[in-house]
Protein backbone atom coordinates (compact mmCIF):
# COMPACT_ATOMS: atom_id res chain seq x y z
CA UNK A 1 0.00 0.00 0.00
CA UNK A 2 1.22 3.49 -0.78
CA UNK A 3 2.01 5.57 2.30
CA UNK A 4 -0.19 8.57 2.98
CA UNK A 5 0.82 11.73 1.25
CA UNK A 6 2.14 14.46 3.52
CA UNK A 7 1.96 18.18 3.01
CA UNK A 8 5.03 19.51 1.20
CA UNK A 9 6.69 22.57 2.68
CA UNK A 10 8.57 24.43 -0.02
CA UNK A 11 12.13 25.47 0.74
CA UNK A 12 14.77 26.96 -1.51
CA UNK A 13 16.14 23.44 -2.00
CA UNK A 14 12.83 21.95 -3.19
CA UNK A 15 12.56 20.87 -6.81
CA UNK A 16 8.97 21.59 -7.82
CA UNK A 17 7.42 19.79 -10.72
CA UNK A 18 4.18 20.25 -12.62
CA UNK A 19 2.91 16.66 -12.53
CA UNK A 20 1.97 15.05 -15.85
CA UNK A 21 -1.76 15.21 -15.15
CA UNK A 22 -1.65 18.98 -14.66
CA UNK A 23 -1.64 20.58 -18.09
CA UNK A 24 -0.18 24.05 -18.55
CA UNK A 25 -0.77 25.51 -21.96
CA UNK A 26 -1.50 28.68 -23.87
CA UNK A 27 -5.13 28.90 -24.94
CA UNK A 28 -5.11 30.47 -28.39
CA UNK A 29 -8.82 31.14 -28.50
CA UNK A 30 -8.82 33.18 -25.29
CA UNK A 31 -5.29 34.50 -25.64
CA UNK A 32 -4.11 33.51 -22.16
CA UNK A 33 -2.37 30.80 -20.19
CA UNK A 34 -4.51 28.07 -18.72
CA UNK A 35 -3.90 25.25 -16.27
CA UNK A 36 -6.09 22.18 -16.56
CA UNK A 37 -6.30 19.81 -13.60
CA UNK A 38 -8.90 17.41 -12.20
CA UNK A 39 -12.19 19.36 -12.20
CA UNK A 40 -10.25 22.62 -12.31
CA UNK A 41 -9.53 25.31 -14.86
CA UNK A 42 -7.14 28.04 -13.65
CA UNK A 43 -5.85 31.15 -15.37
CA UNK A 44 -2.37 32.05 -14.10
CA UNK A 45 -1.04 35.44 -15.18
CA UNK A 46 2.04 35.72 -17.42
CA UNK A 47 4.49 35.59 -14.55
CA UNK A 48 2.64 32.76 -12.82
CA UNK A 49 2.73 30.76 -16.04
CA UNK A 50 6.42 31.56 -16.43
CA UNK A 51 7.17 30.28 -12.91
CA UNK A 52 5.14 27.11 -13.50
CA UNK A 53 6.97 26.55 -16.77
CA UNK A 54 10.25 26.46 -14.83
CA UNK A 55 8.96 23.77 -12.46
CA UNK A 56 10.56 20.83 -14.21
CA UNK A 57 11.54 18.76 -11.19
CA UNK A 58 15.21 19.41 -12.03
CA UNK A 59 15.60 23.06 -11.02
CA UNK A 60 15.58 23.98 -7.32
CA UNK A 61 13.56 26.90 -6.03
CA UNK A 62 16.85 28.82 -5.72
CA UNK A 63 17.60 28.13 -9.38
CA UNK A 64 14.11 29.27 -10.36
CA UNK A 65 14.39 32.46 -8.33
CA UNK A 66 17.83 33.12 -9.83
CA UNK A 67 16.50 32.66 -13.35
CA UNK A 68 13.51 34.92 -12.75
CA UNK A 69 15.71 37.59 -11.13
CA UNK A 70 17.85 37.64 -14.23
CA UNK A 71 15.03 37.63 -16.77
CA UNK A 72 12.91 40.23 -14.99
CA UNK A 73 15.85 42.29 -13.85
CA UNK A 74 14.83 42.21 -10.18
CA UNK A 75 16.88 41.44 -7.05
CA UNK A 76 16.58 37.76 -6.08
CA UNK A 77 16.12 38.52 -2.36
CA UNK A 78 13.20 40.70 -3.24
CA UNK A 79 11.26 38.24 -5.39
CA UNK A 80 12.14 35.08 -3.43
CA UNK A 81 9.37 35.39 -0.79
CA UNK A 82 6.69 35.93 -3.45
CA UNK A 83 7.89 33.01 -5.52
CA UNK A 84 7.99 30.77 -2.45
CA UNK A 85 4.48 31.79 -1.44
CA UNK A 86 3.22 31.18 -4.98
CA UNK A 87 4.78 27.73 -5.13
CA UNK A 88 3.50 26.83 -1.67
CA UNK A 89 -0.01 27.76 -2.68
CA UNK A 90 0.12 25.68 -5.83
CA UNK A 91 1.60 22.79 -3.85
CA UNK A 92 -1.18 23.03 -1.29
CA UNK A 93 -3.71 22.71 -4.06
CA UNK A 94 -1.82 19.64 -5.29
CA UNK A 95 -1.05 21.30 -8.60
CA UNK A 96 2.70 21.02 -8.03
CA UNK A 97 4.70 18.15 -6.68
CA UNK A 98 8.13 18.33 -5.10
CA UNK A 99 11.26 16.30 -5.38
CA UNK A 100 13.33 17.02 -2.28
CA UNK A 101 17.10 17.14 -2.63
CA UNK A 102 18.53 13.71 -2.05
Amino acid sequence: MTPFRTRVVITSASRPLVPPHVHLRFDDLRGKWVVLAPEKVLWPDEIGADILGRCTGAATVSDIVGGLAEDYDAPAEQIAPDVLAFLQEWCDRLLLRCEETK
Partner: protein
Protein backbone atom coordinates in the same frame (compact mmCIF):
# COMPACT_ATOMS: atom_id res chain seq x y z
CA UNK B 1 -18.79 38.35 -16.67
CA UNK B 2 -21.90 39.57 -18.35
CA UNK B 3 -22.80 43.12 -17.42
CA UNK B 4 -26.21 43.24 -15.74
CA UNK B 5 -27.66 45.68 -18.24
CA UNK B 6 -26.24 44.32 -21.50
CA UNK B 7 -27.94 41.44 -23.27
CA UNK B 8 -26.31 38.12 -22.61
CA UNK B 9 -22.88 38.11 -24.24
CA UNK B 10 -22.05 34.57 -25.26
CA UNK B 11 -18.45 33.61 -24.59
CA UNK B 12 -16.89 30.26 -25.35
CA UNK B 13 -17.87 27.42 -22.98
CA UNK B 14 -15.22 25.84 -20.74
CA UNK B 15 -16.65 22.50 -19.86
CA UNK B 16 -18.91 19.82 -21.17
CA UNK B 17 -20.50 16.82 -19.53
CA UNK B 18 -20.97 13.97 -21.97
CA UNK B 19 -23.45 11.40 -20.75
CA UNK B 20 -22.40 8.66 -23.09
CA UNK B 21 -25.00 6.16 -21.98
CA UNK B 22 -27.75 5.72 -19.44
CA UNK B 23 -26.85 2.06 -19.01
CA UNK B 24 -25.42 1.33 -15.58
CA UNK B 25 -24.85 -1.80 -13.52
CA UNK B 26 -25.79 0.07 -10.35
CA UNK B 27 -29.27 1.18 -9.29
CA UNK B 28 -28.69 4.12 -6.98
CA UNK B 29 -31.87 5.76 -5.79
CA UNK B 30 -30.34 9.26 -6.01
CA UNK B 31 -29.18 9.17 -9.62
CA UNK B 32 -29.37 12.53 -11.38
CA UNK B 33 -30.29 10.89 -14.68
CA UNK B 34 -33.85 11.52 -15.78
CA UNK B 35 -36.47 9.13 -14.46
CA UNK B 36 -37.22 8.12 -18.05
CA UNK B 37 -33.89 6.55 -18.99
CA UNK B 38 -32.82 6.08 -22.61
CA UNK B 39 -32.20 2.58 -23.90
CA UNK B 40 -28.96 1.63 -25.66
CA UNK B 41 -30.54 1.87 -29.15
CA UNK B 42 -31.05 5.63 -28.65
CA UNK B 43 -27.35 6.30 -28.04
CA UNK B 44 -25.23 8.27 -30.47
CA UNK B 45 -22.79 6.12 -32.41
CA UNK B 46 -19.01 6.50 -32.32
CA UNK B 47 -18.81 8.79 -35.33
CA UNK B 48 -21.47 11.12 -33.96
CA UNK B 49 -19.62 11.48 -30.66
CA UNK B 50 -16.28 12.03 -32.41
CA UNK B 51 -17.86 14.71 -34.56
CA UNK B 52 -19.46 16.31 -31.50
CA UNK B 53 -16.15 16.36 -29.62
CA UNK B 54 -14.40 17.99 -32.59
CA UNK B 55 -17.07 20.68 -32.66
CA UNK B 56 -16.80 21.14 -28.89
CA UNK B 57 -13.04 21.61 -29.13
CA UNK B 58 -13.54 24.17 -31.92
CA UNK B 59 -16.01 25.97 -29.70
CA UNK B 60 -13.40 26.33 -26.95
CA UNK B 61 -14.21 23.49 -24.56
CA UNK B 62 -11.22 22.80 -22.28
CA UNK B 63 -12.57 20.00 -20.08
CA UNK B 64 -14.85 17.10 -20.85
CA UNK B 65 -16.46 14.88 -18.25
CA UNK B 66 -17.15 11.45 -19.63
CA UNK B 67 -20.07 10.22 -17.65
CA UNK B 68 -23.30 8.25 -17.81
CA UNK B 69 -24.82 5.97 -16.59
CA UNK B 70 -21.62 4.01 -16.73
CA UNK B 71 -19.47 5.44 -19.56
CA UNK B 72 -17.07 2.48 -19.60
CA UNK B 73 -19.90 0.31 -20.95
CA UNK B 74 -19.26 2.09 -24.25
CA UNK B 75 -16.80 -0.10 -26.15
CA UNK B 76 -15.52 2.94 -28.04
CA UNK B 77 -14.56 4.94 -24.94
CA UNK B 78 -10.82 4.77 -25.61
CA UNK B 79 -11.36 6.15 -29.11
CA UNK B 80 -13.40 9.03 -27.75
CA UNK B 81 -10.71 9.81 -25.16
CA UNK B 82 -8.00 9.76 -27.82
CA UNK B 83 -9.96 12.18 -29.98
CA UNK B 84 -10.33 14.66 -27.12
CA UNK B 85 -6.74 14.32 -25.99
CA UNK B 86 -5.51 14.98 -29.53
CA UNK B 87 -7.36 18.29 -29.38
CA UNK B 88 -5.80 19.21 -26.02
CA UNK B 89 -9.08 18.75 -24.16
CA UNK B 90 -8.74 17.55 -20.55
CA UNK B 91 -10.63 14.30 -20.00
CA UNK B 92 -12.23 13.28 -16.71
CA UNK B 93 -13.72 9.82 -16.47
CA UNK B 94 -16.65 9.55 -14.07
CA UNK B 95 -17.14 5.87 -13.31
CA UNK B 96 -18.84 3.55 -10.85
CA UNK B 97 -15.93 1.20 -11.58
CA UNK B 98 -17.56 -2.15 -10.90
CA UNK B 99 -17.01 -3.68 -14.33
CA UNK B 100 -13.51 -2.40 -15.10
CA UNK B 101 -10.45 -4.48 -15.84
CA UNK B 102 -6.87 -3.33 -15.51
CA UNK B 103 -6.37 -3.72 -19.27
CA UNK B 104 -9.28 -1.45 -20.02
CA UNK B 105 -7.98 1.22 -17.65
CA UNK B 106 -4.57 0.93 -19.22
CA UNK B 107 -6.13 1.48 -22.64
CA UNK B 108 -7.81 4.65 -21.32
CA UNK B 109 -4.50 5.87 -19.88
CA UNK B 110 -2.73 5.20 -23.17
CA UNK B 111 -5.45 7.05 -25.05
CA UNK B 112 -4.63 10.09 -22.92
CA UNK B 113 -7.12 9.99 -20.07
CA UNK B 114 -6.17 12.77 -17.64
CA UNK B 115 -8.15 11.93 -14.50
CA UNK B 116 -10.49 9.29 -13.11
CA UNK B 117 -13.24 9.71 -10.58
CA UNK B 118 -14.65 6.66 -8.86
CA UNK B 119 -17.94 6.85 -7.02
CA UNK B 120 -18.32 5.08 -3.68
CA UNK B 121 -21.92 4.70 -2.50
CA UNK B 122 -20.65 3.98 1.02
CA UNK B 123 -17.36 4.09 2.90
CA UNK B 124 -17.71 0.40 3.78
CA UNK B 125 -18.71 -2.68 1.81
CA UNK B 126 -22.10 -3.04 3.41
CA UNK B 127 -23.34 0.46 2.62
CA UNK B 128 -21.90 0.49 -0.89
CA UNK B 129 -23.75 -2.69 -1.68
CA UNK B 130 -26.96 -1.60 -0.02
CA UNK B 131 -27.15 1.72 -1.86
CA UNK B 132 -25.97 0.62 -5.31
CA UNK B 133 -27.55 -2.85 -5.27
CA UNK B 134 -24.45 -4.48 -6.72
CA UNK B 135 -22.73 -7.46 -5.17
CA UNK B 136 -19.13 -6.93 -4.06
CA UNK B 137 -19.23 -3.42 -5.48
CA UNK B 138 -16.99 -2.00 -2.75
CA UNK B 139 -14.17 -4.48 -3.34
CA UNK B 140 -14.36 -3.94 -7.09
CA UNK B 141 -14.20 -0.18 -6.69
CA UNK B 142 -11.23 -0.42 -4.34
CA UNK B 143 -9.46 -2.62 -6.84
CA UNK B 144 -10.17 -0.26 -9.73
CA UNK B 145 -8.99 2.70 -7.65
CA UNK B 146 -5.72 0.90 -6.91
CA UNK B 147 -5.20 0.21 -10.63
CA UNK B 148 -5.89 3.83 -11.45
CA UNK B 149 -3.14 4.90 -9.03
CA UNK B 150 -0.76 2.21 -10.34
CA UNK B 151 -1.22 3.60 -13.83
CA UNK B 152 -0.16 7.00 -12.54
CA UNK B 153 -3.54 8.65 -13.00
CA UNK B 154 -4.89 11.07 -10.40
CA UNK B 155 -7.88 9.69 -8.51
CA UNK B 156 -10.97 11.38 -7.16
CA UNK B 157 -13.21 9.56 -4.73
CA UNK B 158 -16.77 10.73 -5.25
CA UNK B 159 -19.08 10.26 -2.28
CA UNK B 160 -22.76 11.06 -2.92
CA UNK B 161 -24.16 11.85 0.53
CA UNK B 162 -27.71 11.28 1.78
CA UNK B 163 -29.53 9.93 4.81
CA UNK B 164 -28.19 6.38 4.47
CA UNK B 165 -24.50 7.31 4.56
CA UNK B 166 -24.15 10.80 6.03
CA UNK B 167 -22.72 9.29 9.23
CA UNK B 168 -19.89 7.78 7.16
CA UNK B 169 -18.36 11.08 6.05
CA UNK B 170 -15.24 10.67 8.26
CA UNK B 171 -14.80 7.16 6.89
CA UNK B 172 -14.94 8.52 3.35
CA UNK B 173 -12.02 10.80 4.22
CA UNK B 174 -10.08 7.81 5.59
CA UNK B 175 -10.93 5.79 2.48
CA UNK B 176 -9.75 8.55 0.13
CA UNK B 177 -6.45 8.82 2.01
CA UNK B 178 -5.97 5.09 2.04
CA UNK B 179 -6.59 4.81 -1.70
CA UNK B 180 -4.12 7.60 -2.44
CA UNK B 181 -6.80 9.86 -3.92
CA UNK B 182 -5.84 13.48 -4.42
CA UNK B 183 -9.40 14.65 -4.41
CA UNK B 184 -12.48 13.75 -2.42
CA UNK B 185 -15.84 15.01 -3.52
CA UNK B 186 -18.36 15.07 -0.68
CA UNK B 187 -21.39 15.66 -2.81
CA UNK B 188 -24.66 16.03 -1.03
CA UNK B 189 -27.29 14.64 -3.33
CA UNK B 190 -29.11 17.21 -5.38
CA UNK B 191 -32.80 16.54 -5.50
CA UNK B 192 -33.80 16.14 -9.10
CA UNK B 193 -34.25 13.09 -11.33
CA UNK B 194 -34.41 9.91 -9.28
CA UNK B 195 -33.33 11.75 -6.16
CA UNK B 196 -36.39 14.00 -6.33
CA UNK B 197 -38.61 10.95 -6.64
CA UNK B 198 -36.92 9.43 -3.58
CA UNK B 199 -36.34 12.61 -1.63
CA UNK B 200 -38.33 11.67 1.45
CA UNK B 201 -36.17 8.59 1.99
CA UNK B 202 -32.89 10.30 1.14
CA UNK B 203 -32.95 13.73 2.71
CA UNK B 204 -30.85 13.71 5.89
CA UNK B 205 -32.12 15.51 8.96
CA UNK B 206 -31.01 19.00 9.86
CA UNK B 207 -28.67 18.07 12.72
CA UNK B 208 -26.83 15.47 10.68
CA UNK B 209 -26.27 18.02 7.93
CA UNK B 210 -24.91 20.63 10.34
CA UNK B 211 -22.53 18.12 11.96
CA UNK B 212 -21.31 17.19 8.50
CA UNK B 213 -20.67 20.79 7.49
CA UNK B 214 -18.59 21.42 10.63
CA UNK B 215 -16.63 18.24 10.18
CA UNK B 216 -15.87 18.81 6.50
CA UNK B 217 -14.79 22.40 7.02
CA UNK B 218 -12.41 21.48 9.81
CA UNK B 219 -10.99 18.46 7.98
CA UNK B 220 -10.54 20.28 4.73
CA UNK B 221 -8.35 22.77 6.55
CA UNK B 222 -6.34 20.07 8.30
CA UNK B 223 -5.70 18.18 5.08
CA UNK B 224 -4.49 21.13 3.03
CA UNK B 225 -1.75 19.94 0.74
CA UNK B 226 -2.67 16.30 1.33
CA UNK B 227 -6.19 15.86 0.01
CA UNK B 228 -8.38 18.32 -1.86
CA UNK B 229 -11.87 18.09 -0.46
CA UNK B 230 -14.59 19.55 -2.64
CA UNK B 231 -17.85 19.98 -0.85
CA UNK B 232 -21.18 20.16 -2.61
CA UNK B 233 -23.30 21.56 0.20
CA UNK B 234 -26.85 20.45 0.83
CA UNK B 235 -29.06 23.35 -0.14
CA UNK B 236 -32.33 22.13 1.34
CA UNK B 237 -31.42 23.65 4.70
CA UNK B 238 -29.62 26.73 3.44
CA UNK B 239 -31.02 30.25 3.38
CA UNK B 240 -29.78 30.95 -0.12
CA UNK B 241 -29.47 28.76 -3.18
CA UNK B 242 -26.21 27.52 -4.64
CA UNK B 243 -25.06 29.11 -7.86
CA UNK B 244 -26.25 27.09 -10.79
CA UNK B 245 -23.19 26.02 -12.80
CA UNK B 246 -21.86 29.57 -12.67
CA UNK B 247 -25.07 30.73 -14.30
CA UNK B 248 -27.41 29.14 -16.84
CA UNK B 249 -25.50 28.45 -20.07
CA UNK B 250 -22.62 30.62 -18.84
CA UNK B 251 -19.64 28.34 -19.29
CA UNK B 252 -20.77 24.74 -19.54
CA UNK B 253 -23.33 22.44 -21.08
CA UNK B 254 -24.12 18.78 -21.26
CA UNK B 255 -25.12 16.23 -23.85
CA UNK B 256 -27.44 13.29 -23.20
CA UNK B 257 -26.85 9.80 -24.66
CA UNK B 258 -29.06 10.59 -27.67
CA UNK B 259 -27.22 13.84 -28.40
CA UNK B 260 -29.61 16.35 -26.86
CA UNK B 261 -27.67 19.46 -25.80
CA UNK B 262 -28.73 20.90 -22.44
CA UNK B 263 -27.62 23.80 -20.24
CA UNK B 264 -27.67 21.43 -17.26
CA UNK B 265 -28.45 17.81 -16.55
CA UNK B 266 -31.93 18.45 -15.23
CA UNK B 267 -32.96 20.98 -17.88
CA UNK B 268 -35.28 18.56 -19.67
CA UNK B 269 -37.50 18.55 -16.61
CA UNK B 270 -38.45 22.10 -17.63
CA UNK B 271 -41.12 21.03 -20.03
CA UNK B 272 -41.69 24.52 -21.39
CA UNK B 273 -38.24 24.55 -23.06
CA UNK B 274 -37.32 22.87 -26.35
CA UNK B 275 -33.84 21.44 -26.86
CA UNK B 276 -31.87 20.44 -29.94
CA UNK B 277 -29.74 17.46 -30.74
CA UNK B 278 -26.28 17.41 -32.25
CA UNK B 279 -26.63 16.48 -35.88
CA UNK B 280 -29.75 18.64 -36.19
CA UNK B 281 -27.77 21.83 -35.76
CA UNK B 282 -24.11 22.75 -35.29
CA UNK B 283 -23.09 22.83 -31.64
CA UNK B 284 -22.03 26.46 -31.93
CA UNK B 285 -25.46 27.42 -33.16
CA UNK B 286 -27.09 25.65 -30.22
CA UNK B 287 -24.70 27.21 -27.69
CA UNK B 288 -24.89 30.74 -29.01
CA UNK B 289 -28.36 31.12 -30.44
CA UNK B 290 -30.84 28.55 -29.23
CA UNK B 291 -33.80 29.87 -27.32
CA UNK B 292 -33.43 27.44 -24.44
CA UNK B 293 -29.83 28.47 -23.84
CA UNK B 294 -30.60 32.15 -24.06
CA UNK B 295 -33.74 31.97 -21.94
CA UNK B 296 -31.97 32.34 -18.56
CA UNK B 297 -28.65 33.78 -19.65
CA UNK B 298 -27.46 36.89 -17.89
CA UNK B 299 -29.82 38.77 -15.57
CA UNK B 300 -32.56 40.33 -17.68
CA UNK B 301 -34.94 37.38 -17.36
CA UNK B 302 -35.07 37.66 -13.59
CA UNK B 303 -38.28 38.60 -11.84
CA UNK B 304 -38.36 40.05 -8.33
CA UNK B 305 -37.08 39.39 -5.73
CA UNK B 306 -33.96 38.31 -7.67
CA UNK B 307 -33.92 41.31 -10.04
CA UNK B 308 -33.12 43.81 -7.33
CA UNK B 309 -31.20 41.43 -5.06
CA UNK B 310 -27.53 42.04 -4.42
CA UNK B 311 -26.84 38.30 -4.41
CA UNK B 312 -27.91 37.77 -8.00
CA UNK B 313 -24.32 37.81 -9.26
CA UNK B 314 -23.39 35.24 -6.61
CA UNK B 315 -26.13 32.68 -7.10
CA UNK B 316 -27.79 33.73 -10.39
CA UNK B 317 -31.19 33.28 -8.81
CA UNK B 318 -30.50 29.64 -8.02
CA UNK B 319 -31.60 26.54 -9.83
CA UNK B 320 -34.09 26.84 -12.71
CA UNK B 321 -35.00 23.19 -12.55
CA UNK B 322 -35.70 23.25 -8.84
CA UNK B 323 -37.78 26.40 -9.33
CA UNK B 324 -39.81 24.67 -12.02
CA UNK B 325 -40.20 21.42 -10.06
CA UNK B 326 -41.51 23.18 -6.99
CA UNK B 327 -43.39 26.17 -8.35
CA UNK B 328 -44.27 25.25 -11.92
CA UNK B 329 -42.49 28.40 -13.13
CA UNK B 330 -38.91 27.99 -14.35
CA UNK B 331 -38.24 31.73 -14.02
CA UNK B 332 -39.30 31.87 -10.38
CA UNK B 333 -36.83 32.48 -7.59
CA UNK B 334 -35.38 29.15 -6.43
CA UNK B 335 -37.53 28.02 -3.47
CA UNK B 336 -34.34 27.22 -1.51
CA UNK B 337 -33.96 31.01 -1.22
CA UNK B 338 -35.34 32.52 1.96
CA UNK B 339 -36.84 35.33 -0.17
CA UNK B 340 -38.96 32.91 -2.19
CA UNK B 341 -42.64 32.78 -1.24
CA UNK B 342 -42.38 29.00 -1.63
CA UNK B 343 -39.49 28.62 0.82
CA UNK B 344 -41.59 27.22 3.66
CA UNK B 345 -43.24 24.62 1.43
CA UNK B 346 -39.80 23.18 0.75
CA UNK B 347 -39.88 21.33 4.04
CA UNK B 348 -43.17 19.57 3.21
CA UNK B 349 -41.96 16.18 2.17
CA UNK B 350 -44.15 13.43 0.82
CA UNK B 351 -44.49 10.48 3.21
CA UNK B 352 -41.38 8.33 3.34
CA UNK B 353 -41.52 5.35 1.02
CA UNK B 354 -39.04 2.63 0.11
CA UNK B 355 -36.36 3.92 -2.26
CA UNK B 356 -37.18 3.33 -5.89
CA UNK B 357 -34.20 1.83 -7.70
CA UNK B 358 -32.85 3.45 -10.80
CA UNK B 359 -33.83 1.15 -13.64
CA UNK B 360 -34.52 1.51 -17.32
CA UNK B 361 -38.26 1.45 -17.75
CA UNK B 362 -39.57 2.85 -14.51
CA UNK B 363 -40.32 0.20 -11.92
CA UNK B 364 -42.32 0.15 -8.77
CA UNK B 365 -40.85 0.34 -5.29
CA UNK B 366 -38.49 -2.31 -4.02
CA UNK B 367 -36.38 -2.58 -0.91
Amino acid sequence: MTAPTAGPAVGPPLGMLAELTHRCPLQCGYCSNPVELLKANRELDTQAWLDTFEQAADLGILQVHLSGGEPTLRKDLERLIACLDARGVYTNLITAAVTLTRDRLEAFAEAGLAHAQVSFQGACAETTERVGHYKNAHQKKRQAAAWIRELGLPLTVNAPIHKLNIHEVPDFVALALELGAERLEIANVQYYGWAYLNRAALLPDYDAVMRQVDYVEKTREELTGVLNIDFVTPDYYADYPKPCMGGWAADAFMITPDGTVLPCHAAQTITSLAFHRVGEKPLREIWENSEAFNRFRGFDWMPEPCRSCERKEIDFGGCRCQAFAMTGDAAATDPTCIKSPHHAALRDLPPEEPIRRRVVGRQSAST
